[in-house]
């Protein structure tokens, strides 16, 4: 009987016959995820993030379909990875690309709608009109009435959106216990200042019309006349400031008047290629950029080279069976790798300190009679950074070299010995080429890592010392990423995320190039002859 079933049918049968317990678990997990998604949808709806909302809904439906339907079986294994790829890699890249084409940064943080709302929600206190002292009264249904008294003794009653002279209203204050303080105002009962605090949110929304103006609560003790400070006219895209009676037109992310006065709050807007154009056409940006670029490549290359050489040396030495206590040495040499890099960097910073550091005071001054200005001289600052990076990086190289060394078959060395090769010759013709072919991809990824090694630069030198003659604040040890960081957070008036995103994109393309190179190498390695 079974033979007559197609593969597809058999698989479906097997799936169905699987314990319903697994199915239950699957459905519970899916249910939980959907519940979470619905909650997130509500939050996103509240925040008016409609793009994200759509993506979330579509994404959840696709997930449900894939895990419930049998038709797209194979997708069940690919999907989780794909989702994380989209969230962690593709989304940030897309966002960075978007930011690179905006003026996002200090002064241009809010969207235009939000910036306009900031203006239009502002009221100004009309100081040309009286300020009233207020007595607050509340009835049983938690509605409020206010008795207002100005400095000349004129009294108003504010209730139900209107303020009228005390004489003209049926609500009359009553002082039942005759202590000079009104206990009631009509049906409303007197409230102490203390007791109205929990109601202030309600009270801040109340406004009372009086003689064409709005009376609002200024503080728990006072009322004042308010009018709107700004008005936005979408037809002309203009904000009018009623206090100065000036029109401000929306232009390049700011509201600017005819006299070139700029309103404080600007907004985020797209600016086309401007950030890139600035970078490549303005000498003041280009010069430091090129300078930093060259040092970045040098830094990454030298870091890889020095750590590899030291790591390889140690690995080869410790691979020799004649060395005693190899395990102990290895463990000790791994320590820098196990310490948090942040702490290590800060310790090195202290060691290098020109006047108080140990390196100058204990090593260099007594031995050579000369101190090195580690962080003051561009050359020595670069050396210092490289030394710290050597310390941080060699254990990794030692580890991978040790691993790779152990995978080289011993017969090769035996054969070489038969041929009468010396130790150096063996290293030169067997160890090194075999190691290199195995480790090149790792060296390339190490290069890419150091290319973006913000930690070491920022913690050891902060990119300093300053370059004399540079126009933008750039330091001699700044690499592209720290230069970008300083641009994003320390530029002109705070942060220029747009420009920084443009630089990040350029870095991204460089790193992609390196990665591509890496892949090319990887493929080449498939043809390396196998010895076992």
């Amino acid at each position: 009987m079974n033979n007559s079933l197609t593969t597809q049918e058999r698989r479906t049968l097997e799936t169905r016959s699987k314990s319903s317990f697994a199915m239950m678990i699957k459905i519970i997990i899916l249910g939980l995820m959907n519940a979470l998604a619905i909650w997130a949808v509500l939050v996103l709806f509240q925040d008016q993030q409609y793009g994200m909302l759509t993506a979330l809904v579509v994404g959840s439906l696709v997930i449900d379909y894939i895990y419930i339907s049998d038709r797209v079986y194979s997708w069940r294994f690919i999907l989780p990875g794909t989702i994380f790829l989209a969230l962690m890699v593709i989304y940030p890249i897309v966002f960075t690309i978007y930011v690179a084409f905006t003026n996002y940064g200090t002064g241009h943080l809010l969207s235009k709608a939000m910036a306009i709302e900031q203006y239009t929600s502002r009221y100004m206190l009309r100081e040309d009109f009286p300020i009233y002292d207020v007595e607050v009264f509340k009835d049983e249904s938690e509605d409020f009435a206010f008795l207002l008294t100005d400095s000349e003794g004129r009294q108003l009653v504010a209730v139900e959106g209107k303020a009228v002279l005390l004489e003209n209203t049926s609500l009359q204050p009553v002082d039942a216990d005759a202590d000079g303080v009104y206990d009631r105002l009509g049906d409303y009962e007197r409230q102490s200042t203390l007791s109205i605090f929990p109601y202030l949110n309600k009270l801040q929304k109340l406004s009372f019309e009086h003689e064409g103006l709005e009376l609002k609560m200024r503080s728990p003790q006072e009322f004042g006349y308010y009018s709107r400070r700004y008005q936005y006219d979408p037809a002309w895209d203009v904000i009018t400031d009623f206090e100065t009676e000036t029109d401000y037109y929306a232009q390049d992310g700011n509201f600017i008047s005819k006299n070139q006065d700029v309103l404080d709050i600007g907004f985020k807007t797209t600016v086309g290629w401007r950030n890139f154009k600035n970078l490549f056409t303005d000498r003041r940006y280009l010069e430091p950029f090129v300078r930093v670029f060259i040092w970045t490549i040098m830094f990454a290359l030298l870091s890889v080279a020095e750590t590899f050489v030291l790591g390889l040396l140690l690995a080869v030495l410790l691979n020799d069976p004649k060395v005693k206590l190899r395990g102990l040495y290895r463990s000790i040499l791994i320590i820098p790798y196990a310490m948090p890099a942040v702490i290590t960097c800060l310790i090195w910073r202290g060691l290098f300190s020109t006047e108080t550091g140990i390196i100058n005071n204990i090593l260099l001054l007594p031995l050579f009679g000369k101190a090195i200005p580690w962080f003051q001289d561009p050359f020595w600052a670069k050396v210092a950074v490289l030394i710290v990076n050597l310390w941080l990086g060699y254990p990794y190289m030692m580890l991978i070299c040790t691993g790779a060394l152990q995978s080289i078959p011993g017969e090769l060395y035996e054969a070489a010995m038969v041929d009468g090769a010396t130790g150096w010759r063996k290293f030169q013709t067997i160890t090194f080429p075999l190691l290199l072919s195995q480790l090149t991809p790792l060296l390339i990824s190490c290069f890419a890592y150091n290319f973006n090694n913000l930690n070491v630069i920022y913690l050891v030198t902060k990119g300093r010392p300053a370059i004399a003659g540079a126009i933008t604040p750039t330091g001699a040890t700044d690499i592209l990423i720290s230069y970008t960081y300083r641009m994003a957070f320390e530029s002109g008036s705070g942060g220029d995320y747009g420009l920084a995103a443009a630089v990040s994109l350029i870095i991204f393309f460089i790193i992609s190039g390196i990665t591509m190179l890496n892949f090319k190498y990887l493929r080449a390695f498939e043809e390396v002859p196998q010895y076992d």
């Binding site: 459905i27 519970i28 249910g31 939980l32 959907n34 519940a35 979470l36 619905i38 909650w39 509500l42 509240q46 925040d47 449900d64 003026n103 940064g105 200090t106 002064g107 241009h108 943080l109 809010l110 910036a115 900031q118 502002r122 206190l125 203390l194 605090f197 929990p198 202030l200 949110n201 801040q204 200024r218 503080s219 728990p220 404080d264 600007g266 600035n278 003041r284 300190s353 020109t354 006047e355 108080t356 200005p373 962080f375 003051q376 300093r464 010392p465 300053a466 004399a468 003659g469 540079a470 126009i471 933008t472 604040p473 330091g475 320390e490 530029s491 002109g492 008036s493 705070g494 220029d496």
Partner: protein, 401 residues
């Protein structure tokens, strides 16, 4: 079909448990404070809750993160109602549309004028100030029995103490740090930004490379050449040196007092010595409360500040935890401590740190210049000229947007 029924059921159950998470925050005050101030704010918040029946939550956020976090959390409605920070955040917070103008009414008169002017932007007040700080000359009484009154005295006292071989120094200022250097530069008339006729700062008028600025920066280089001051000392090293009695005088502010006291150093605090007979005018920093423009409880937040924070009791409680002189005058009168009085004295003669966002480019270019001068790479005139050039470029660039 059964599956979907089941699925939907699960979903509803879970939804029921998750939903309460988004209760509105209306009617509850959320305050952001840095770890230094959060404990006293929590105490005050509890007291306020008991008295006024309004819940107050204090969220502890790292000092350096508050300003940036507000820009992220505020617009999405997750920010605080009130934040505590220094007045020099004002510019960035305002142009980003993150804080709200305040109206103190009659109470404005009860504050030190320098504190009010620090929190004023244009014509509007954007914060309730509560403490003031500025730097002065802290000296180790064992090494320096009497605080020098003039810069020449400082040099001669410093020379007596300094001994490079022993790693002992006469004087230290943390480097490269324009904030501390400015005091000495300002004596000769240096300023960061000049003023417009209406009293606001004019970012096109930069006065750091004026005679006084150049001379002030050079004075520090001279101290290094005379081996009175070590090169490349940061705040931590400076503190350690002072605590170990290895330096006679340092430029620092009230933030150092606690650690000096703990180390048992008998220190004094005096105004910075005069330069060429002129008084230095150090930067003044003012701490205060600001109200987020995305708060749903603006009236409540303002009433909290007005009714509860601006009282002698609260201001004194804040003073006791922070050790900075209060700027609310009724509270200041109660303060007896001599260090505090010395700081207030120094501060009332100082200049509020400019709060316009353009200061960002000023700090980095200026500290580069100081670094180049101290390292002897450039003359002070050249370095300051270059810094001013950099600042102009940066400001011009940020205007282009």
């Amino acid at each position: 079909m059964k599956r979907f029924a089941l699925l939907t059921l699960c979903l509803l159950v879970v939804l029921g448990t998750v939903l309460p998470v988004f209760a509105s925050e209306e009617g509850k005050l959320l305050i952001w404070a840095c770890p230094l101030r959060s404990s006293v704010m929590k105490e005050l918040g509890n007291e306020f809750t008991t008295k006024y029946k309004v819940p107050v939550e204090v969220q502890e956020i790292n000092f350096e993160d508050i300003r940036d976090q507000l820009g992220v959390a505020g617009p999405t409605g997750k920010g605080p109602d009130i934040l505590i920070g220094p007045h020099d955040w004002l510019g960035q917070l305002i142009v980003n549309g993150l804080i709200e103008p305040l109206d103190l009414g009659k109470k404005e008169k009860d504050f030190s004028p320098v504190a009010i002017s620090a929190f004023t932007w244009g014509k509007e007040l954007y914060g309730v100030p509560y403490a003031i700080e500025c730097i002065g000359l802290a000296y180790n009484k064992k090494l320096v029995p009497k605080a020098p009154k003039t810069w020449d005295q400082l040099i001669s006292t410093g020379k007596k103490i300094s001994d490079k071989a022993q790693q002992r120094w006469g004087f230290v200022v943390q480097q490269p740090d324009p904030y501390h250097s400015f005091a000495v530069m300002s004596a000769g008339g240096a300023y960061v930004f000049g003023k417009n006729p209406d009293g606001t700062l004019n970012p096109n008028d930069i006065g750091l490379n004026t005679l006084g600025g150049v001379r002030g920066a050079q004075l520090f280089r001279d101290l290094i050449e005379a081996e009175i001051m070590p090169l490349g000392v940061d705040f931590n090293t400076m503190t350690t040196l002072f605590k170990e009695g290895k330096v006679g005088m340092v430029l620092t502010g009230p933030w150092s007092f606690d650690s000096f006291r703990e180390a048992g150093v008998d220190y004094g605090f005096a105004p910075i010595p005069t330069v060429d007979g002129k008084k230095p005018r150090p930067f003044v920093g003012v701490q205060g409360f600001m109200v987020s423009s995305f708060s749903k409880n603006k009236l409540l937040a303002k009433a909290f500040l007005d009714e509860y924070v601006i009282t002698k009791e609260t201001m004194i409680a804040l003073y006791k935890k922070g050790a900075r002189p209060p700027v609310y005058l009724p509270a200041l009168k109660e303060v007896k401590d001599s260090d505090t009085k010395a700081v207030y004295q120094s501060a009332s003669e100082g200049i509020p740190m400019p709060s316009i966002p353009e200061m960002n480019s000023v700090w980095s270019a200026w500290s580069n210049a100081i670094e180049l001068i101290l390292n002897g790479k450039l003359s002070s005139q050249q370095a300051m000229d270059e810094a001013v050039g950099q600042i102009r470029t940066a400001i011009e660039q940020s205007r282009k947007k």
